[in-house]
Subunit: 400 residues, 2 copies
Amino acid sequence: MREHNLALALREIAFAHTPVSRADIASATGLTRATASSLVDALVGAGLVVESGPTARPRGGRPATGLVLSSTGPAGIGIEVNVDYVAVCVMDLAGVVRHRRIEGGDWRDVPAPEALARAASLTADVARSARRSGLRLAGAALAVPGLVQAPYGPLQLAPNLGWQDLDVLAVLRDAPDLPAVPLTVDNEANFAALAELYAAPAEPGAPRSFLHVSGEIGIGSGIVLNGALVRGRHGWSGELGHLTVSPDGPDCTCGSRGCLEQYAGLDAILRAAGLPAPRGTSLGGVSAVERIVETAKTADPSMLAALESAGTALGVALAGALNLLDLDAVVLGGAYARLAPWILEFVEQEIGGRLLSAPWSAPQVRASLLQADAAVLGAARSVVQGVVDDPASWVARVGA
Amino acid sequence: MREHNLALALREIAFAHTPVSRADIASATGLTRATASSLVDALVGAGLVVESGPTARPRGGRPATGLVLSSTGPAGIGIEVNVDYVAVCVMDLAGVVRHRRIEGGDWRDVPAPEALARAASLTADVARSARRSGLRLAGAALAVPGLVQAPYGPLQLAPNLGWQDLDVLAVLRDAPDLPAVPLTVDNEANFAALAELYAAPAEPGAPRSFLHVSGEIGIGSGIVLNGALVRGRHGWSGELGHLTVSPDGPDCTCGSRGCLEQYAGLDAILRAAGLPAPRGTSLGGVSAVERIVETAKTADPSMLAALESAGTALGVALAGALNLLDLDAVVLGGAYARLAPWILEFVEQEIGGRLLSAPWSAPQVRASLLQADAAVLGAARSVVQGVVDDPASWVARVGA
DNA sequence: AGGCTTATGTTCAAGGCCTAAACAAACCTG
DNA sequence: CAGGTTTGTTTAGGCCTTGAACATAAGCCT
């Protein structure tokens, strides 16, 4: 009961981006001002919330004392190991990124323990900085590009890293210097979707359901239904790249035929435009996306045609997802956020034609608000959100 | 708090298919025996639960008094208006169908108010019978074959009934004699999935996620994620029939091309086998499914080929859904339950080849346990389940 | 400036519900 | 028939919410 009400009160403070008063919380939640006061006291005592000074009322009355999320309260660490970089960040309760490290390189042929050791070292580094800033670490979440049994299980397969059947969290935990915090792991696409979910704050109760396309080398996606990630039975949901676009289409590396990846993957786009596919997207050279964007900007006809057919294929796959799930929106993230100017039109056109309900209510299709680092941000956010969703256990942890 | 615990206790009684004791509830929920006792007293007082006599303990000790769901407590009415029949049933708390009426006929060219008036009349009929059996009606749910804004909204489109933009609940409510109970409406495919969900009782906490294919004339589906129906933004989820199987395939009635319905719909199967498509599936004549089953039993080569290609197309679409959602199982319901012997193999084969995660953990693919009346049962079940999920409001309703 | 109005936040008694422990009931075993 | 065991109830205690009164701190009006 207390547990539930603490979460209720904290959510009001978290969702509002301006300071709220105890009275606001009371009227928004239906609780008494007395109860709201008591809840807020507990939250302040646990270091989750701080008072931000009096705010004058418009037409008289005692000024309210504003409440905001503490910037010295619990913080979450996001860790992302990807093909051409390792990134780490620390996010505070309010969602502000307080520290970050990124290290480029080609991690494809590096043994997994080595890559994870590097990630652990960066993590230890930001953790020290965070502690110096007065933050208390609530946990860390690892984003990986592959199939993984979220939130604790082993990694099954990360094709682009060349990893397979590996208990990544155990390896990470064994690294020296790693701060002793709870660890979780999930697919980078899921975390990227989570980041998008919280990028544009909305009403507390507003249902938000969307699919976030998250393509770099493969094409993944994260599905958010009513504000919650759909992880699936094993945490393997969102494998958009291997949706069948045409059953007799070109062979795919997965063993199937006609997968979306063969039409709309970055390699496929470059191939279709008659350009050589660079190996990976290393920071040193010119990345695949850059290459495509540059060429598209010159209005190169074969590139524009390649993007049109990629957008069309993506639209076919997304129309399928929308027919199945009746979502509010589709968000193009990752590489597709950059390519949106050239593909959005075709994606929308295909969705308009193939989605049964489109004539009544067409879903929104838009590019992501975030940059390429959506996954790290989402990972860190997942930790922070865990505290916001269940403040009672944090209160207990601090008390002990 | 009380609200939550009442639901907790009732769920224990509902999920167990043998009588449970107050002590069982206490140990299963972690509450005290005293609290469990108090909760049970409230449930018994509200007529939701009855004691079923003492049950001896195996190794001594005081015998427990068994608790089961009351068969004279609240009951739900399910109403289904479909192309060739109108069906109504009353289900009690335990999930037993206590009364039912079905009326055949061809409702396609009948004006909507007339069909709904007929449904209302049948409903009033079973409601009287139910009251005579000592049941109290908690509500009624209407299943319709089309896009509808669940759970209260108007019907947008029911192509096979020829209905469009109609507030079905308002029409139904205006019918004379209709019992004054809360009304809801949803797609028949959603209700059929719900019926399947509760057909095979499982552990209370066990996550159950599956897609239930529900084809009669069109191909719909209901998606259950972690034991809850996914209704989507407007309640339009599960439109499996218009998933694109091949982007350049045959034109579909929906305006798109290459929809699953054009490959695996009953009409499509008959066409592919060289048989004329009967109009609808009227009870008087031989239905489309019957026709297909009969022909397939004679091992007619063109029919077998038609079923193979239907199964393959269905497999392609289902593999897409599974790649997106990572479900536990796919259940073939409606007409496809009957056709399972001839198509299951091809559906599984296609899923095995196209589902990225299949090598690690292949989802179950099976025929539905229920007959064609899954939708009515599911509709009635939705009402019953509403009471089980929120007993507190029923307790309040009875008290008032 | 002083009183009135308005709104916030706190204090305090009352009640609801859960917990823990003791107690009564009912059956089996030897 | 006594001892053991398990169920269900009773009772005292404590946590948390409620509702109302009260204190605080402004703006507004004369």
